[in-house]
C-alpha cells in the first residue's frame, strides 16, 4: 500500500468531481427513500441505508447513512451474487430482496434491496438499500419480539429472491411478502421506496458512465478505495502500538457481557471479542457481519470521520468474534432486538477501546469523547382514532444526550437517528403528549459536561379500544448511559416507565395539562424488554440517557457552571458538591474566592479513602 493517498494517473480535480458525484448519488438514493416512503422509520427517523458497490460487492460509496449497514449490505450483495449468478442469472433491471440475518441483514425488519447496475450490457456495479419495515410478521408488532426464543419466532426470513425481474415487479412475490405482515399497505410502501431508490442509483450511474466512460469511472472508483485505505492506514500508524479493552453488559433477565480487546500494531486494528457471553435465547444476539459492521462504523465515526465511506476503510480492520457467542450467534438464536441491544453494546465497547487508543496519541487525543450506550425506544400498535389498525415507532431514543468531548460539552439531544414530530404522531395515532423537553439534572459532570438528554411523557387519547400495545426495546439496564471519560461522571440512565392508575384522563377532561409526573399520581414500574398495554389512565414516561462528562469537574470553568445553573441543567447544590462552585443570592452571583476555597477543600476530601 502506497503512503500516497493519490497514486494513479487520475488527475486530482477529476477525482474530486467524480468521487463527490458518487457520494451525491448515494445521498440522492436516501432522498428517494424519504420522499417515496411513508412510515416514520423512513421519513422521520432516517432508519435506512443507501449505498453503491463495485461489481464484486465491495463498498464504493455511501451517503450519510449508517456505516454498519453499509458494510452489511456489502455482505448482502456478495450473497446475492453467489446465489443467482449461476441460478436464474443477474440481468439488467433486476432487483433482489434479502433479509436473512444469518446471511447479511442485521435483523429481519431490516429488508435489503439489491440492484445490479449494467452499462451497455456489462455488470459494472450494484446499489443497495435497506429500510426498517414497519412490521415483519413476528410475534410482536413492529418486529422486535421480547418473547422470541428462536429466529423462527421473529418473522419472514428470506435468503434472497428476485423481486423485480428485468424491470417487472413480481407481484406474486410482492403480495406474498406483504401479506405475511400486520400492515401490508405500509410495508408495501416500504418496499416500493427501496425499489425507487435503487432505480435512482441505476439511472444516475448509467448517466455517469455515459458522460465519463467506463475506464475513467473505474479508475476513479479504485482510486477512492485506495485513497481511504491509504489515509486511514497512515492515521493508524501515527498512534502508538498497544492493547485496550472494555466490557459492556446487556440486561434482559440474565446479564450478557460483550468484551472486546483492541490490538493496534503498525497500520492495522484487530478487534477481538473473545470473552463475550454465549449466545442468548433472547433476541439480543448480533450476527458476525453486523459485529464487523459495528466496528467499521466505530472507525468511520472516529479515525475516518472525514474520509469517503468505502471498502478501503474496511481493509485495515480485522474482527474476531467466537462462534456461538452474542457477537457471532448460530441459528436458531433470535436476533430481533439486536440493533439497540447487542449492536449498541458492540458499538459502545468498540468505540470505548478506540477512545482509549486515541488518548495515547498526541495528535489524536483531541478527538476523544465520552460514550453513550443508551438508546431506548418503543414500538406501538393498535386501532387508531380513524378506526384503522396501525404499527409505528416512538423514536425517543434519538433524544439521547451525547458524551462530552475533550474540548466541548456534549450535545443535549441528537444522538443517532432522528426523532418523530409530535403533531404528526398525534394526528395519526391515538396518543397525546404531556411533554417533551430536555432533562434536568442528568448530564454527566466533568470539565466538559455531557448532553442533558430528553424526556417525554404521553398517554392514550381517543383510542377506540381504550388502549394500545407497546413493545419496549433498546439497551435495558441502568448503566446504559455509558460512561464518563477520564474522570468525567456517567450521565443518568435511559429508562422507560409505565405509570398506571393515574389521574391523567381526569385532568385532561378538566382541560389541565400535567407538566410533572408526580402530578398525575398512580404507581410506576420500569419496563425491561417486554410488551405492555397503555390505557387511558396510564402514562408512558421515556427518559433518554444523558451524556457522560469529560475530565475532572473541579477543572470546569466556573462561568460554565453558572450558565448551567441558570439553565436549570445543574442545581445550585450540585454546583457546590460536584463542581465546587459557589453561587450566591437569588440573582445567581458567582463567588470566585469561595469557589477556590471550596475546590481546595474538595481535593483534601478526595485524599481520604473510603472502603
Amino acid at each position: 500500500m502506497s503512503a500516497n493517498p493519490i497514486s494513479s494517473s487520475v488527475d486530482p480535480i477529476t477525482f474530486e468531481i467524480l468521487s463527490h458525484r458518487l457520494y451525491q448519488i448515494a445521498k440522492e438514493m436516501g432522498t428517494a427513500l424519504e420522499r417515496v416512503g411513508g412510515t416514520v422509520n423512513t421519513t422521520q427517523m432516517h432508519d435506512y441505508m443507501a449505498s453503491l458497490y463495485l461489481a464484486n460487492g465491495d463498498v464504493l460509496s455511501a451517503g450519510d447513512s449508517m456505516g454498519w449497514h453499509v458494510a452489511c449490505a456489502g455482505f448482502a450483495v456478495k450473497r446475492i451474487i453467489e446465489r443467482f449468478e449461476n441460478n436464474g442469472g443477474i440481468n439488467p433491471d433486476d432487483i433482489f430482496l434479502l433479509n436473512d440475518p444469518y446471511l447479511a441483514a442485521i435483523h429481519q425488519s431490516d429488508v435489503y434491496m439489491i440492484s445490479p447496475i449494467h452499462f451497455r450490457g456489462q455488470l459494472v456495479g450494484w446499489s443497495a438499500t435497506f429500510v426498517h419495515v414497519m412490521d415483519i410478521g413476528a410475534m410482536s408488532p413492529g418486529g422486535n419480539s421480547p418473547g422470541a426464543t428462536e429466529i423462527c419466532h421473529e418473522g419472514i426470513r428470506i435468503p434472497g429472491i428476485k423481486l423485480v425481474d428485468r424491470g417487472e415487479l413480481r407481484k406474486d412475490l410482492f403480495d406474498a411478502f406483504i401479506n405475511m405482515t400486520r400492515q401490508p399497505v405500509m410495508v408495501g410502501l416500504d418496499l416500493k421506496c427501496e425499489i425507487a431508490a435503487n432505480n435512482v442509483a441505476k439511472f444516475r450511474m448509467q448517466a455517469l458512465y455515459e458522460q465519463f466512460g467506463p475506464e475513467l469511472v473505474t479508475a476513479v472508483s479504485q482510486e477512492m478505495l485506495h485513497h481511504s485505505e491509504a489515509i486511514l492506514r497512515r492515521r493508524i500508524a501515527e498512534i502508538p502500538d498497544g492493547t485496550w479493552s472494555d466490557t459492556g453488559s446487556i440486561h434482559a433477565g440474565d446479564t450478557w457481557k460483550v468484551h472486546v480487546t483492541l490490538n493496534k500494531k503498525d497500520d492495522r486494528l484487530l478487534f477481538d471479542f473473545t470473552g463475550s457471553s454465549p449466545q442468548a435465547k433472547k433476541g439480543i444476539n448480533l450476527p458476525y457481519h453486523a459485529t464487523f459492521g459495528a466496528c467499521y462504523e466505530a472507525i468511520l465515526c472516529t479515525l475516518a470521520y472525514d474520509l469517503p465511506k468505502n471498502h478501503g476503510a474496511l481493509k485495515p480492520i480485522e474482527v474476531i468474534a467466537p462462534e456461538g457467542t452474542v457477537v457471532n450467534p448460530t441459528p436458531p438464536a433470535p436476533v430481533s432486538l439486536n440493533t439497540t441491544s447487542g449492536g449498541a453494546t458492540v458499538k459502545f465497547v468498540a468505540n470505548s477501546a478506540i477512545m482509549q487508543m486515541l488518548a495515547t496519541s498526541e495528535k489524536w487525543r483531541g478527538e476523544v469523547m465520552a460514550l453513550n450506550a443508551g438508546h431506548r425506544l418503543a414500538r406501538h400498535a393498535g386501532v387508531n382514532q380513524h378506526g384503522k389498525y396501525y404499527v409505528s415507532t416512538l423514536s425517543e431514543g434519538a433524544l439521547d444526550g451525547t458524551g462530552a468531548r475533550s474540548y466541548k460539552d456534549g450535545d443535549d439531544t441528537g444522538r443517532g437517528l432522528s426523532c418523530h414530530n409530535i403533531e404528526w404522531l398525534e394526528a395519526n395515532f391515538p396518543l397525546l403528549y404531556l411533554f417533551r423537553r430536555n432533562t434536568k439534572g442528568g448530564a454527566g459532570a466533568g470539565r466538559y459536561r455531557g448532553g442533558t438528554g430528553g424526556e417525554s411523557a404521553l398517554t392514550v387519547y381517543d383510542a377506540p379500544d381504550g388502549k394500545i400495545k407497546g413493545v419496549a426495546l433498546g439497551v435495558a439496564g441502568l448503566r446504559n448511559s455509558g460512561q464518563g471519560m477520564f474522570g468525567g461522571y456517567p450521565g443518568a440512565p435511559s429508562l422507560l416507565m409505565l405509570k398506571e392508575g393515574t389521574r391523567v384522563a381526569e385532568m385532561i377532561a378538566a382541560d389541565k395539562s400535567p407538566d410533572r409526573l408526580d402530578e398525575v399520581g398512580g404507581s410506576g414500574r420500569l419496563l425491561p424488554y417486554c410488551e405492555f398495554d397503555v390505557g387511558k389512565n396510564d402514562v408512558l414516561y421515556m427518559r433518554m440517557s444523558s451524556g457522560g462528562g469529560y475530565g475532572d469537574p473541579l477543572e470546569r470553568e466556573p462561568e460554565r457552571v453558572l450558565n448551567d445553573v441558570e439553565a436549570g441543567i445543574v442545581s445550585r447544590e450540585e454546583a457546590k458538591e460536584i463542581y465546587g462552585v459557589v453561587i450566591e443570592g437569588d440573582d445567581l452571583v458567582l463567588d470566585l474566592a469561595a469557589t477556590d476555597k471550596l475546590r481546595a477543600s474538595h481535593r483534601q476530601e478526595r485524599l481520604q479513602e473510603t472502603k
Partner: protein, 90 residues
C-alpha cells in the same frame, strides 16, 4: 520521550524504563506495564453523588473514583456493582 496515556496521565521514560506519571504534579505512579489504578486513592460513593437522577441505581451500584494521591486530580469515574469484588477492592 513522553506520550499521553489519557487526560492527566502520561507515559514517560526514566532511567530506560517506561513509567505512568501524573501530568499535573509529575508524580510517578507505576511502571507502564502495571495497572495505574492500583496506585490511586479510591473512593466509593452513593450513585446520587453523580446527580439526583441516579437514584434508580441506589442499592445496586456504587460510584467509584480514582484520584492522584498527590494532587488529588480525578483520573477516572465509573459505576461498580455494590456487592462485586471490584467494590471490595477500592
Amino acid at each position: 520521550m513522553n506520550h499521553p496515556l489519557r487526560a492527566n496521565l502520561e507515559i514517560t521514560i526514566l532511567d530506560g524504563m517506561e513509567w505512568v506519571r501524573c501530568s499535573k504534579c509529575q508524580r510517578k505512579h507505576c511502571r507502564a506495564d502495571e495497572d495505574w489504578r492500583r496506585f490511586c486513592k479510591v473512593r466509593l460513593l452513593p450513585p446520587t453523588k453523580a446527580g439526583v437522577l441516579m437514584s434508580d441505581l441506589n442499592g445496586q451500584y456504587l460510584l467509584r473514583q480514582f484520584y492522584c494521591p498527590t494532587c488529588a486530580v480525578l483520573l477516572d469515574t465509573d459505576f461498580v456493582e455494590e456487592h462485586s469484588n471490584d467494590a471490595g477492592r477500592a
